[in-house]
Symmetry: C2
Subunit: 442 residues, 2 copies
C-alpha cells in the first residue's frame, strides 16, 4: 500500500488551476510507476488540458487485449474542516484508507496497476494483452481523452475496456455495472421586459421571467415526477425481466435509504415505478438552479426581465439525444407564457449506454469477482453518465467491463473519502482472476 | 433654481454607507434653508438611521394645518456610464434639469420648500399652518420616520398631509394620486434532501427544492396572471364607476406603452381586466428571484436541497394583510410537492390606502392644480406602496394629498433622471394656490 499512499499524497485537483503542477506530478507518478512495473511504450500524452498516460504490454499473441481505464485526478477536498484526517495525508482507520481520491479513483486505478505489476513480477508475463489509458481531467469535464480516442481509434484496438471507477451495491456483494444513463444538459433562457421593472408600477402588466421559468418547469414535469414532454417516453426500453428480478433481490431498505442517503420526508419520483427502475432505467428531469432577479438579503421589488434555468434530462436506452433535444425545445416553446421568449441552449449531451450481460468479457468479470468474494455477482445500472463508456463502445467497439470495488458509503466527492483496505486487495485478486479467465477460450 | 442645484450636488445616497456624510450634509442643507426661510422649531431629529428634519410655522389660528412631506435622500446613481451628464453635476438641457434626485425627490421637495419661502417673503405670513417632516431614508427602507410618527403622533396634529413624490399621468395633465396598493413581501423557504445531491445517482428519488419552488409558484398564479390563492380576491373592492370612466379617458396608447415602457412581446396580467385596473386596483403576485442550486457558468448536475424564493403580493382595498398572509401560507403548504417542506417567512406588509376624492383637502388640491395647468385634474392610483401614507392616515387621521409634478419619463431610479424646469415653477404655483384654497372655508 506504500505506493498507493504516496500516490494519494499528491493533491491532483484537476479543477483548480493552482494545482496544475500537482496534476502533472500525478501523471509523472503513474508514468514512472508503470515503466518500473515493466509496461512498454509508456508515455505522457500532451494535449489541451491535463495529460493522458499511455502504456501497454502486448506480448500475448492470439489473446484478447484489454484497455485499462482510470483517472489520476481528484475532486476538490472542500470543505476542509469536515475531514477527520487531512485529505492529502492518507490515514488508515478501522480497515479503511482515508484520503481524497482513495476510492475515486486513485485507489481503484491502483488496483488495475498493481494487478498488472504483480502478475508480471510473479510470472514474467501476462495472460492477456493490456493497454493503460489514464486521464487527468475526469473530475473537471475535460475532453482531452475524447479527442485522443477519436483521433487514435485505429491504434487503440481492444476487445474490452476495464473500468474500475464504480461501486459495489453492498459490502461483500460483487457488482458489475452494465448500464449508464445518458444526459442532455442545457439552459432555458427566458426574456421578458426590456429591463427589470418595479413590481409596484408594472405588476399586472409586465411579464416576469422567473415566474415564466417556473411555469415552464411545472409544465415539463408534474408534481409526481412524470415528465410532460410529448414523445419523451416513446423510445424508453423497459428493463428486462431478468434485471427487474435481480433488482428486487438486492439487499435494500428503502426507509434507511430515505433517511440516511436522501434525508427528506419522502422519496420523490414517479410513484408507480419501483425505485431502482426510477433512478437507473427511467428518464428524469432535474432543475439545477435558476439565475435571475433579486436573491440577496432583504426586500427588492423587482420584476425580473431575464432568467436562466440550468436543466438536465437523464436518458435511458433507446432514447436518442438529438430527438430528446428537439422534443424539449418544442415543449419549452409551448410552455412559455404570454409576453416572454423562451429558448433552450444545449451545453452537452450523451446517449445512455448498456453492456450486454451475456457478452463473454462481462460474464468472465462476474465469474472472477464471484470467485474472490464468494458471493454471486449482481448486475446493476448506474443513474449517472460516464461518457467515456459510450466512446469506447462507439469508437473502439469495445464493451466496458465496470468492475467497481468502492462501497456506497465511501464519501466520494465529499469529506472523509475512504476505500476499504480489504477491497483493494480483493480488487487486485479479482482483476488477476479476470485476466486468466479472459485469456481462456470460451 | 440656484438653491435646488446646490441641493442636487450633494450625493445623499442613503443606501450607501460611504455616503453617510453626504446624507447628513443634505439634512443640514434642508435644515439651514428652512431656518433661513423663516420656519420655526427647525430641528434635525436623530434616531436609528438617517436624521429627520422638522420645521413648522403655526401662526394661522383657526386655519388648517398641513403636514408637508418629502425626502432628501436619493437612489444610487449606477450605472454611471449611462449618464449623459454626471448625476451630481446638475445640467439643464431642453427645458429639463438632469441630476440624480431631480424628480425623486429633491426637485419635488424643493417645490414645497420654495412655495412656503415665497409666500413668507411676499406676504410675511402663510394662509395656513404648516409642518415640514422630511426624511433621509425613503430610498433605503429605513423606519426612522415610522417610529417617530408613531411616538409623536400627538404633537404632529395636521388636517392633511401633502406629498410631492409622485408623477403626473402625462405632460400638462394635473394629476392627483388617490390610491396606493399595499404589499405582503416575504420568502418561500423549501427544504428537500439533507444536502445537494448528484442528479445521476439520485434523480428519480430525491426531491428537488428549486423544482418544488417552481411547482408552488405555478400553483399560486396561473399562466394568465390569475392568483390561485383561495380567498384572496374575496375582499377586493372594484374601482368605482367614476374611477373606471376616468381611467378610460386617460390619454394612453397601449401599444406605445408595451413597446417603450415594458419592451416585451405582449403585456402580461389578467387578460379580461383593463390595464389600469390590473396595475392599480387588482392584487398581483410577483416572484423577485429564486436562490438555490447551481447558477454559475457551465454544467453542474446537482439536485438542490434548499431554495429561497422572494415573492410579494400587491394588495388593494379592502384586503387585509394578516388575512392575506394566512391565505398565502396555506396555499404554499398545499402546493408543496411530496418530499419537501415549504414555509413562508414574512419580511414586511402594509395595507393598501385610498383617499376619498370628495375630501375637501383633496378637492381643493385638484382645483389648485387645474388653475395653474389649465386642464382638469385627473384622479389616478399608483400600483406601488408608500407606507408613510397609511401611517399618516392611521396615526394622524390625516388624508394624504399626493400632488405630483414629475413626468412618466423622468427616469427615476435610472440613469439620466430629470425634472421639467417648467413643472418646478408650476408646482410651486400650484402649492401656493393650494395654501390659499385650503385656507378658505368650504
Amino acid at each position: 500500500m506504500k505506493d498507493l499512499i504516496e500516490f494519494l499524497r499528491i493533491p491532483s485537483v484537476s479543477a483548480s488551476p493552482e494545482h496544475a503542477g500537482d496534476v502533472r506530478r500525478a501523471s509523472e507518478f503513474v508514468h514512472d510507476w508503470l515503466a518500473a512495473a515493466g509496461l512498454e511504450h509508456v508515455a505522457i500524452i500532451e494535449g489541451r488540458g491535463h495529460p493522458l498516460v499511455y502504456a501497454d504490454w502486448l506480448h500475448a499473441p492470439a489473446k484478447p487485449t484489454l484497455l485499462l481505464y482510470g483517472h489520476y485526478d481528484v475532486q476538490p477536498p472542500d470543505p476542509l474542516e469536515e475531514w477527520i484526517s487531512p485529505p492529502f495525508e492518507p490515514a488508515v482507520r478501522d480497515g479503511n484508507l482515508y484520503a481524497r481520491g482513495a476510492a475515486d479513483d486513485k485507489g481503484q486505478l491502483y488496483i488495475l496497476m498493481e494487478a498488472v505489476r504483480r502478475v508480471l513480477r510473479e510470472r514474467g508475463k501476462l495472460p492477456v494483452n493490456v493497454r493503460f489509458l489514464i486521464e487527468g481531467e475526469e473530475e473537471s469535464g475535460g475532453d482531452h481523452i475524447e479527442e485522443y480516442v477519436k483521433a487514435r481509434a485505429g491504434e487503440l484496438s481492444a476487445d474490452a475496456a476495464v473500468i474500475c471507477d464504480t461501486a459495489m451495491f453492498a459490502p461483500d456483494l460483487p457488482t458489475l455495472t452494465i448500464g449508464l444513463r445518458g444526459i442532455v444538459y442545457g439552459e432555458i433562457h427566458v426574456e421578458g421586459a426590456r429591463t427589470d421593472l418595479h413590481s409596484g408600477d408594472y405588476g399586472g402588466a409586465a411579464p416576469n421571467a422567473v415566474e415564466a421559468a417556473a411555469q415552464i418547469i411545472a409544465a415539463l414535469k408534474d408534481r409526481d415526477g412524470h415528465i410532460r414532454i410529448p414523445g419523451l417516453y416513446d423510445r424508453v426500453r423497459p428493463p428486462s425481466d431478468a434485471e427487474r428480478s435481480t433488482w428486487k433481490r438486492l439487499p435494500f431498505n428503502a426507509e434507511v435509504y430515505r433517511k440516511t442517503e436522501i434525508g427528506s420526508t419522502a422519496l420523490a419520483g414517479e410513484p408507480e415505478i419501483p425505485l431502482f427502475e426510477r433512478i437507473w432505467a427511467r428518464p428524469t428531469l432535474e432543475v439545477h438552479g435558476i439565475r435571475g432577479g433579486f436573491t440577496g438579503e432583504g426586500s427588492k421589488t423587482v420584476i425580473p426581465a431575464r432568467s436562466v434555468t440550468k436543466i438536465s434530462l437523464r436518458l435511458v436506452p433507446d432514447q436518442r439525444p438529438d430527438e430528446v433535444i428537439g422534443e424539449l425545445e418544442s415543449a419549452i416553446a409551448a410552455a412559455a407564457p404570454r409576453g416572454v421568449k423562451a429558448t433552450f441552449k444545449l451545453l452537452s449531451s450523451a446517449p445512455a449506454s448498456m453492456v450486454d450481460p451475456s457478452n463473454p468479457f462481462v460474464r468472465k468479470a462476474a465469474q472472477a469477482m464471484q470467485k474472490v468474494f464468494g458471493n454471486e455477482t449482481v448486475y446493476v445500472r448506474c443513474g449517472g453518465s460516464i461518457p467515456i463508456v459510450g466512446l469506447f463502445e462507439e469508437k473502439l467497439h469495445a464493451p466496458s467491463v465496470m468492475m467497481g470495488f468502492g462501497l456506497p458509503d465511501d464519501n466520494i466527492h465529499a469529506p472523509n473519502e475512504k476505500m476499504s483496505v480489504r477491497n483493494v486487495e480483493r480488487g487486485i485478486e479479482s482483476v488477476i482472476a479476470y485476466f486468466d479467465l479472459a485469456s481462456a477460450a470460451d
